[in-house]
Amino acid sequence: MTTSSNGRRTLLRGAGLAAIAASTPALMRQAMAAEPIKIGIPCALTGSLAVVAEQTKRTATMWAKQVNAAGGINGRPIELIIEDTGGNPATCVRKVQQMVERDGCRIFTGITFSSETLAVMPRLGEWDSIYVACGNGDASMTAEAFVPNFFRGNPSGPTEARLLSLYIKDSGLKKFYAIGMDYSWGHSTVAAFEEEMKRNNIEFVGKVFAPTGTRDFSSYITKIRQSGADGLMMVQSGDDANAFMTQAAQYRLGDKVKMFTTLIELSTIKAVGEASKGVIGTMRYMSTYEYPENKKFVEQFTREIKDTPDWNDGEQWKALQFIGAAIKKANSIKSADLVAALNDMELDTVKGPAKFRACDHQSLEEGFVVQVDKVNGALLPVLVKKYPWDQITPACRKKNFDA
């Protein structure tokens, strides 16, 4: 009886596997048979930027599924290893080390906080690994903290500060105040913005940095109201941006100062609603950007994830486009081969043509200034102006733009 039962189970299992095999395309079966290419994604799935990390997770999963369905890269399937770092640099280093030692992973992307990436970067060489950033804006990564195995696929904080300051230059505003998140991205972006304001003869009346995870911004808002500024630059993201913008609207801050941000996020617009209306800022990626590669991506994303891609969805997709192209070109996953392949690589991406500059591994691409406005009854970022990369990107290995 037992033997018969076991036999039946084995038979059923075999039949099930055969059914799966028969329904799997031949290319995919071939890819599954080969050794997988592992891509590590240590991201902050918990904490104040959880929404950003979730974007990384969903987009990377969609990318891997698409690549695997098409037979993998050079016949090898993609295997993602996604783990939560909680946004803690020490945890992030530990997770990456685990992925290197336990899983044999050598390719990384999607780290959420700049502070985490800065902690990982010095170890990349020792781990014989590469990291392609999609959302790390700290200026030093392509300057004094640069390491050869690091690539930045997104614009840096100073690039965004420069981009916005070009727009602000002609705004007629005379005095600016800045509020930033109290970690490397916030500090380096505010510093670059301060420099730009001085260059444009606009008075920079003060700055303040709020710890990540701040929930009550009332005293910061009082400080901004007292400063006499007529313009405010916000360098905030995730929960912090949502809380600040919500409370700024409750305190009618917009009646006193014109509000700008270096990072407009769809998630923030949805979360704070009317409080975001009229805010002007840069947007790293726009789902409404008219470009064939983007159109394909948005259609696929909307179909599979049933949402509109936010900035980090687009940036993560672009970083993975580069990683995939580099593996294909190098026909290898060794870090030295991938670095050589990525140097000066040009690609048609969801943000238009982009290129990794060999001298500092910064992606060169257009910059967008957008304003949150009502379009057919819904609040959306509307493109106000575009700037070419050479007007906004700091020179090689420089933190800030030097006019």
């Binding site: 303040v208 009332s218 910061y220 409750q250």
Partner: protein, 288 residues
């Protein structure tokens, strides 16, 4: 801004923040004081209150109703958790409570992510409270004034309940000698269940009240750190201590962020450290 109006505005800001912190910290203090349970899941329950508040407001169109429904549901969850898990652990050492409430934190976080998704959600201001009043030409949101009143009224009612009613007396007696209360014929399991549910409901009130100012988000659960700071400063298990702790933490945060923004966090933790050294049981704690 004149000095007087500045002090007044900042004091109102601090009091409104203290009110939210009170709801967060008092629940933790009650649970620890009566049950000796360090409830690690308090921040997650606070977050859950905000999410349930969002759904209630979305379904009924009333944030006022959300402020009633969310604490009831979270309180019920707390009650079931106490009966199903904590009740079997009272004879074990305190590590068991830490582990099981940490487990609850993880479960709540994942369930919230699955049900509501990762993006933050907007909870509107209650109807009638979306305006501002001008104090010396400076706008103060009506909602902040409401928070101050809500905190003041709730803390007074709970204090009167604990100090002036027979049930309150039994609860206080249970915190001092649960075996004696049991020997005198009181069902201490019932008291423990009720206190745990009340503590969880208070966290949910805090969450649903905070949501219109911060949005409902997964990151809200990190508020548990503030709750522990309040309880450590105010006094382990002391309800009055939780009120004082909330006021102190809110004042240090509000005035510190204004005058010394780079050091406000340092001040807070230095204060906590100082209290731990001078009065290890907290300012109004019984173990000092």
């Amino acid at each position: 801004m004149e000095t007087f109006s500045f002090i007044l505005i900042q004091t109102l800001n601090a009091l409104s923040q203290a009110s939210l912190l009170f709801f967060l910290g008092s629940g933790l203090a009650l649970i620890f004081g009566i049950m000796r349970v360090v409830n690690f899941s308090h921040g997650a329950l606070y977050m859950l209150g905000a999410y349930i508040g969002f759904t209630t407001a979305r379904l009924t169109g009333s944030v006022w109703l959300a402020m009633l429904i969310a604490p009831l549901i979270v309180g019920l969850i707390g009650l079931l958790f106490e009966i199903g898990f904590l009740r079997h652990l009272y004879k074990r050492d305190e590590d068991a409570f830490l582990l099981v409430t940490f487990g609850l934190t993880l479960v709540i976080a994942e369930v919230t992510r699955l049900v509501w998704g990762a993006p933050p959600l907007q909870v509107p201001l209650p109807s009638g409270l979306d305006g501002v009043v001008f104090i010396f030409d400076e706008p103060m949101p009506l909602y902040r004034i409401f928070l101050i009143a809500a905190g003041g009224i709730a803390s007074s009612i709970i204090w009167l309940f604990l100090e002036r009613t027979r049930l309150g007396l039994l609860i206080r007696a249970t915190s001092q000698n649960s075996q004696m209360v049991h020997a005198l014929g009181t069902d201490i399991n019932l008291i423990r269940s009720g206190v745990f549910a009340l503590g969880c409901a208070l966290a949910a009130v805090g969450g649903v009240l905070a949501a219109p100012s911060v949005t409902a988000s997964l990151g809200m659960s990190s508020a548990v750190i503030d709750a522990f700071v309040i309880v450590i400063i105010g006094g382990m298990g002391s309800f009055l201590g939780a009120i004082f702790g909330s006021l102190i933490v809110a004042c240090v945060q509000t005035f510190g962020n204004f005058f010394f923004p780079d050091f406000a966090l340092v001040f807070l933790y230095a204060l906590m450290l100082g209290v731990l050294i001078v009065r290890p049981g907290g300012l109004l704690g019984k173990e000092a």
